[in-house]
């Protein structure tokens, strides 16, 4: 892999900026060029598919069409929600060629649906296999990590491939490559509360606290996530959890790419480790 199309989406420019920073840093280290899709638009996320079916397909369709027109064959969508929307549209259009034609009319752009979409777990897994593993010079020896997938990195028929939706294991190899231990726990695919973060924050506090609690009981010293939504719920809401009497100890929440970045010896600030609500810098001291 010399280069790959890059779809940052909205989260990677704001609340999930650490994901963007760490992916760019790791890609640079691995010698993979990230080719950002020119003129990309919103994937639609939850808002579009609760508004209308056509809109929910048309928005990701335009992104796929742009990528195809720009000569990209494969794009990385690090945000789990973007990934789910883009890959979901791809799968849907593959099953329904009629819709492909309708979308071409609607957006004024033709598309052969030839682009493939990879998520952050798949991408990092490939980087490791293609040589990044050898560059992890500062492993975090013996740190116990709970791998958290949430829904969008474990579910969706034909979207998340090669994983048991009820027992995903895709992050384990990366966690071990970083020198850490992936602890067995129960809530790897539990709901964090998702987009209710704004509409019903008390539900998010309740659900996310349960996830943190189970990880802690399993002996995890931190949680590794892939989704910016999960990350913000687990990371940002810890103060509210304490206020509600649900939590006492802080639990660092890292992106999988941040963990690998630390293991690769990249400066913590370069990968945005100082931007967390719940302190994560303490983890940086654990890398050799």
């Amino acid at each position: 892999m010399k280069s790959i199309g890059y779809y940052p989406g909205c989260a990677l420019a704001c609340s999930g900026i650490e994901l963007d920073l760490s992916i760019r840093a790791l890609s640079g280290l691995a010698g993979v060029e990230l080719c950002e899709i020119a003129d990309w638009n919103c994937c639609g996320a939850s808002s579009a598919h609760s508004t209308g079916h056509e809109l929910a397909v048309a928005l990701p369709y335009r992104v796929l069409a742009l990528a195809e027109a720009q000569g990209l064959t494969e794009i990385l969508a690090p945000c789990a929600s973007c990934f789910s929307r883009l890959k979901g549209t791809l799968v849907r259009l593959r099953r329904n060629p009629e819709m492909l034609e309708r979308m071409a009319g609607l957006t004024g752009r033709a598309c052969r649906n030839s682009v493939s979409v990879v998520n952050v777990v798949e991408y990092l897994g490939r980087l490791l296999k293609e040589g990044l593993a050898g560059k992890l010079t500062s492993p975090l020896k013996g740190v116990k990590v709970a791998a958290y997938y949430g829904c969008l990195l474990s579910r969706g028929e034909g979207i998340v491939e090669g994983e048991d939706a009820e027992n995903p294991t895709g992050m384990e190899a990366a966690i071990q490559a970083a020198g850490c231990e992936a602890v067995p726990w129960n809530f790897a695919t539990e709901c964090c509360g998702g987009a209710f973060s704004l509409a019903k924050p008390e539900a998010v506090v309740d659900l996310s606290a349960a996830v943190l609690g189970d990880a802690e009981q399993a002996g995890a010293q931190m949680i590794v996530a892939g989704c910016p939504m999960c990350h913000s719920n687990l990371d940002m809401r810890q103060r509210a959890m304490s206020a509600a009497g649900r939590r006492t100890r802080p639990m660092p929440i890292l992106y999988l790419s941040e963990l690998l970045g630390l293991a690769a010896g990249i400066a913590p600030k370069t990968i945005g480790l100082d931007r967390h609500f719940t302190d994560a810098m303490s983890i940086a001291g654990r890398s050799a």
Binding site: D164, A165, E166, N167, N186, F187, D214, Q217, A218
Partner: protein, 670 residues
Amino acid sequence: MARVGVFICHCGENIARTVDVAAAAAAAAKMPGVVYSADYKYMCSDPGQQLVRKAIADHKLTGAVVAACSPRMHENTFRRAAAAAGMNPYLLEMANVREHCSWVHSDRAAATAKAIDLIRVMVEKVKRNRGLRTITVPVEPTAVVIGGGIAGIQAALDIAAGGKAVVLIEKSPSLGGHMARLSETFPTLDCSQCILTPRMVEAANHPNITLMTSSEVESVGGFVGNFEVTVRRKARYVDPAKCTGCGECWSKCPVKNIPSEFDAGLSRRTAIYRASPQAVPNQPVIDARHCLMLTKGRCGVCAKVCPRGAINFKDADELVKVKAGAIVLATGFELWDHSAYGEYGGGRIADVIDGFAFERLASASGPTAGEIRRPSDGAEPKTVVFVQCCGSRDEKAGVAYCSKICCMYTAKHAMLYAHKVHGGRAVVFYMDVRSAGKGYDEFVRRAIEKDGAEYIRGRVSKIYRRADGKIMVRGSDTLAGTPVAVEADMVVLADAVTPRPDARTLARMLGVAYDADGFFSEAHPKLRPVETAVAGVYLAGACQGPKDIPESVAQASAAAAKTLGLFARPKLEREPIVARVNRITCAHCRACINACPYKAIEDFNILDRSGKVIRVVANVNEGLCQGCGTCVSVCRSKSVDLDGFTDEQVFLQIAALGPEESGVKSRGSS
């Protein structure tokens, strides 16, 4: 000169609605060789058959064509009628104008023309039919029963009671199958071993039954009445003639940590072992995969302590050939592996067990001597959750069908738990309670009303082990419309009933069909539930579909009745549709001998008066020939023909459809 009669059936409205039967009869009357033609409302009825018989006699018919339904339906009926009128039954043929014509067409004129064509074709055939004689083959009055569970035992005992010999083949070292592992049985709660072990002993000691344990079927040849079954008798390393089952060997064996198959892994066994104290035969075998002597060449403790010198490390597998007239398949079932359910812990939680493990916990002969103790720490579980339909009725990750027995055994488990753990809480999650059977629903009601089992209608979505050791069970109560979570100490999953994975291999050996799930297929789902499509092969028990004990036993007895019925006649009548070799033209190229899938063609020496071989030709063994016609098509000198379907007949049938003959103009001439 041929004198053919044509009989056209209306089949009520079935044929007459679409085919103008009177016109067809008139057209048939004009066909060359036809001297009589008639139509009748129900030709298969008694008056209809009378009509056929009378016409055969009155018109001195040399052949008859009945234009009616499929020959599979009534060919036998009419051939019997012909025989009753003194005609060779093979001179009567059916023209299928129902399934092949009236049922599938709507244009009356075209359908009538097609019916006339079908009749013309059969008239041409029947004019060249030869009167054939039924072939008789001897029947070997020995049955092979494959599988030594309750179904196989029952079938073997019933056949043996009928005075016929049985070879009972069991893969594992002991008879008894799954039933031997059960604690109590529904709906009467009688002890499973108490009712089973006498049967096991009876089967082992019956003079008509040859018991072959640690044995598997290697291959099957032959056909009904004359099967040849090759059995692999696996090495046991213990001489059954010397061993007395004293137990010195397994009490001294140093390898003691092998999970016991019989106890669902809840106890450990030694490398030389017997499945259970009630094993039949009550002699140990050596598990070659774990024995130190057989894997590493050092130990031999059992041989040293055996007072009878029964241990033989040089024992080897042995192939035994058994001749049999009938085969009963009773290979049973397995439980679905719930590790496919990641949401239920993927098989990694020790205190989430399957039904067999619970049976062993509840069994007086089990690893806990009948006390309910959970596997992880031996504690008595105060709350047990039972989950029905684990894998069943789940097309996506499990099987689509209902496993039928789980509703009942789960109620039994809840009941046994209530009897053994006083004050314990039994919670049952179910989709539906399917308790059809005598005394069955009353049994489930008893579990709920008398023994206090809490039944919750809904699926379990997740099972996990909390750090404090509690097993959390989350699901929904679809009657109350609320999510529920139960803190349990142990969970019992009612895993789906699935066929044995190697059953397919056995089915292919025998040519027996199996369904998409791997259960053996019966010949007819309603009217022939114990027969397979292969003559002489019968089914008993859960290898055909999920079944409880009474059903398995009933089917086993039915299979035994079918077997005894087959054996009641010393010789078997067969259709005489066999190949015949013209010895004058046969060049003995052996093409047919090599091509025959039934090994029915052999060399035949033609001798002169002094007994010297002057020529060798091919010869068809009528007992083995199945009439498939493969030899006919490979013969280079056209020296083989199939009785009833000669090349000449087939070509003339085709010619009868030619443009100048047919009522329908061919495309070329229109």
